[in-house]
Amino acid sequence: MSGVRFVTREIGSLAKPSWRVKAFAGRPLEEGDLAAAEEWGRRLEVKGHEALVEGLRGGSLNLPEIDDWAAIYAIRLLERVGLDVVYDGEQKRTEMYDHVAAFARGFEPRGTVRSFDNKYYAKAAVVEAPSVPGPQDVEEFEFVRAHTDRVVKVPLTGAYTMEDWSYDEHYGHEGGLGASAEHRFDARRRFVHDVAVNVIRPNVEGLVAAGAKWIQIDEPAATTKPDEVPLVVEGFNEATRGVEAKKSMHICFSDYSALWPAVMELEDCLELQLEFANRDSRELGTKDEDRPGYADTLALFKEHGYPGVGLGVLDIHSDFVEPAALVRDRILYAVEVLGDPDRIQVNPDCGLRTRSWDVVYEKLANMVQGTRLAEDALG
C-alpha cells in the first residue's frame, strides 16, 4: 500500500437549488422544484428532508430556514462524493463580490455591467474607507462545522479582488484626469490595504477564534493587472498575518506567469489552488504533450520551488465529465514534474456554481476516484 494520500476538496460555490432560488426571488415553486428537493434529499440521505419538502409545499419555512436546508444539502453532496475537505457550496452568499460589498460599510451599489455575451455582474463603488462591524462569516462557519465531521475550509474573497472589481469614488477620485501612474497605483494600494485590514482580517480572526482551521483567500483578479501582483500578496499578508490556521490562495483563469516572483512573498501560504483543466487536453497520458494545460504552470512551481499546488483537475465551464483515468493522469503528470507528491492536493479548477448538481456529482465523484487511482499507481 502506498503512503501517498492526496487531499480532495472543492473550491467554493455550488449552484443553488431551484427551490432556494425561487423562494428568495419570491417566485412560486413548481412541482419540479419539490421533486428535486425530494430526489436529492433521498439520494444524499439528508436526514429529515421530508420536512423540507413539506415546508416548501406548505409555505411554512422562512428564508433563513430554507438557506439552512440548502447548505445541508450542499454539505451532504460534497461528503457523499467522498471529498476530504468541504464547505457549504456558499449557499448562503449571493456571490463572492456582492457578499462582501453588501455587508461592509463603505461600498454602494452602482448597477450592472456586462462580463461577456449575456452574462453580467453587479458592481459597487467604494465611497469611504471600508470597514465591518464584526466578522462576517462566523455564523455560516459554525453552521457548517455543526453539520459535518469532515475537515472544513472557509473560502473568503480577497482584498485585491474586492478592490479590482469595485469602482473607486474615494481613494483616487481627486485628480484622475491627467494624474500620474504613481498616483493611481498609490490609490489602489491604499484601497487594498484598507479592505485587507478592516474587512477581511476581522473576518479571518473571528473565524479562527470560532475554530476554523483553514482559510482560503480567493483572488480571481490576481493577474488582471500583472504589475499589481505585489498588491495581491500584500492584501493576503495583511489579512492573515500571524493567524493560527492553514492558509491558501485560489486563483483562476489568469496569466500565472505574472504571479512569480511576487507570490514567493506570500507569508505562510500553504498552497496556490489554480485552474488547469480548462486549458488541458481531454486525452489520456502523462507526457508533456499530453498535458498542455499543466506543463507551463507546473514548470513555474518547479522552477521557483513554491511549496504547494492545489491541482485543478475539473473544467468547471463544461458539462464534460472527466473520466477517473483522466484525473489520474493529470495528477501523475504533476507528480512527475514536481517530483514530490506531498506538494500536490486535488480540487476542481474553481467553484462549480455554473454546473447542475447532476453534473457536479459525477465530476466530483470521478475526481475522488481518479485521485485514488493515482495513489494506487504511485504505490
Binding site: T112, R114, F116, G178
Partner: protein
C-alpha cells in the same frame, strides 16, 4: 468644440433583464430585439440632449469588439473567452480557419447621413484577437477596408478604429502597416485604456487624420507640441463610476489646446460599456457640458 462617444454603450437594466429572461426561456428573442430598439432610440435621445456633434448606435448588438465582424467574415470564427485588457470583461478571440474575406458588410445604423460615427477594431487589434494567425495588413485589406468603405458610402461621418493593444505593447510599426491598407476616408485611431506616450511620435506618420488618447492613462506631457494630427481627447473615464466635472475637463482641454494639435474632439477614454447605463448617460451629458463650457470660453 465637438464631442461624441464611439464604442460599445452599456445595456439598460431592461435589456439586461430581457436577455437574462430569454436565456431562461421566459421571453422570446423578438422581445429582446424590441428592447434593443428601445435602447437604441433612448441612446439617440440622450446623445441629442447632450448636444453631441455626432451620433453613435452604441453597438448594442455587438457582443464584443470583434464578434459581429468575425461572424461576417469567411475564414474566421469565435474562439474561447479572453480577458479584455485589465478589465473583468471578456471577448471571444478570433479563430482563423481560412483566408479571411468579408462576405457582406455589416449594415449601417439607422441614423441621418453624415451625422453618425461607426466603430470598428483596428487592424492590429483584430490581428491580436486572432492571436496573429493572420496579419493586420491582410485583415485591413480583406475585411476592414471593405467595411469602412461600405459605411462611408452609407453616410458615416467618421469611422473610429479601436486599438487597445498598441499603447501597451509600446510599438506602432505593425499598426502603421495595417492602417496603410485601409481606404482613404475620415478615420480616427482610438487608443483606449493605455498610456500612449511611447507610440505618439510614431503615430504622427499614421495614415489616419485623428488619434484618440486616453488622458486618464497618458500624461499630457507625452503629447509632442504641434502634433500633426487631430486629437480625440479621452477626458471622460469610461471605467469609473465617478462623474467628471465639466469645468475641470474644460480646464484640462485648454492646456491640451496650448500644445497646438490639429484640432481637439472630446470623447470618453474607451467604451462606456464598463459603467452601468444610468452612469453612462450622465457621462454623455458631462461630455456635452464640457464642450459647451469650452465653446463659451472660446
Amino acid at each position: 468644440m465637438r464631442a461624441f462617444a464611439p464604442g460599445i454603450y452599456p445595456r439598460s437594466e431592461e435589456l439586461v433583464q430581457a436577455t437574462r429572461d430569454c436565456e431562461r426561456g421566459r421571453t422570446s428573442p423578438k422581445a429582446v430585439a424590441e428592447q434593443v430598439e428601445r435602447d437604441f432610440q433612448e441612446l439617440v435621445s440622450v446623445q441629442r440632449a447632450a448636444d453631441l456633434s455626432f451620433l453613435s448606435d452604441g453597438m448594442l448588438g455587438w457582443q464584443d469588439l470583434f464578434r459581429p465582424l468575425a461572424e461576417a467574415v469567411e475564414g474566421l470564427d469565435a474562439r474561447p473567452l479572453t480577458r479584455f485588457l485589465d478589465t473583468n470583461t471578456f471577448y471571444r478571440g478570433v479563430l482563423v480557419d481560412g483566408e479571411p474575406r468579408l462576405r457582406n458588410p455589416l449594415p449601417p445604423p439607422d441614423l441621418p447621413d453624415r451625422e453618425w460615427i461607426g466603430t470598428l477594431p483596428s487592424p492590429l487589434a483584430f490581428a491580436r484577437a486572432a492571436r496573429d494567425e493572420v496579419s493586420a495588413e491582410k485583415l485591413a485589406a480583406n475585411v476592414l477596408g471593405p467595411q469602412v468603405q461600405a459605411w462611408m458610402d452609407a453616410g458615416a461621418a467618421l469611422i473610429v478604429l479601436s486599438e487597445p493593444f498598441a499603447a501597451r505593447e509600446g510599438s506602432a510599426d505593425e499598426l502603421l502597416r495595417g492602417l496603410a491598407e485601409l481606404p482613404a476616408a475620415p478615420l480616427a485611431l482610438q487608443l483606449p485604456f493605455g498610456d500612449a506616450g511611447s507610440i505618439l511620435p510614431a503615430l504622427a506618420e499614421a495614415s489616419v487624420s485623428v488619434i484618440g488618447i486616453d488622458f486618464y492613462a497618458t500624461s499630457l506631457d507625452a503629447l509632442p507640441s504641434g502634433f500633426p494630427k487631430e486629437i480625440l481627447a479621452g477626458v471622460v473615464d469610461a471605467r469609473s463610476s465617478a462623474l467628471e466635472d465639466p469645468v475641470e475637463i474644460a480646464r484640462f482641454v485648454e492646456e491640451l489646446l496650448a500644445r497646438e494639435p490639429g484640432a481637439v474632439y472630446l470623447t470618453p477614454n474607451g467604451d462606456l460599456q464598463f459603467v452601468p447605463e444610468p452612469i453612462a448617460r450622465q457621462k454623455l451629458a458631462c461630455l456635452g457640458h464640457a464642450a459647451i463650457e469650452l465653446a463659451e470660453v472660446a
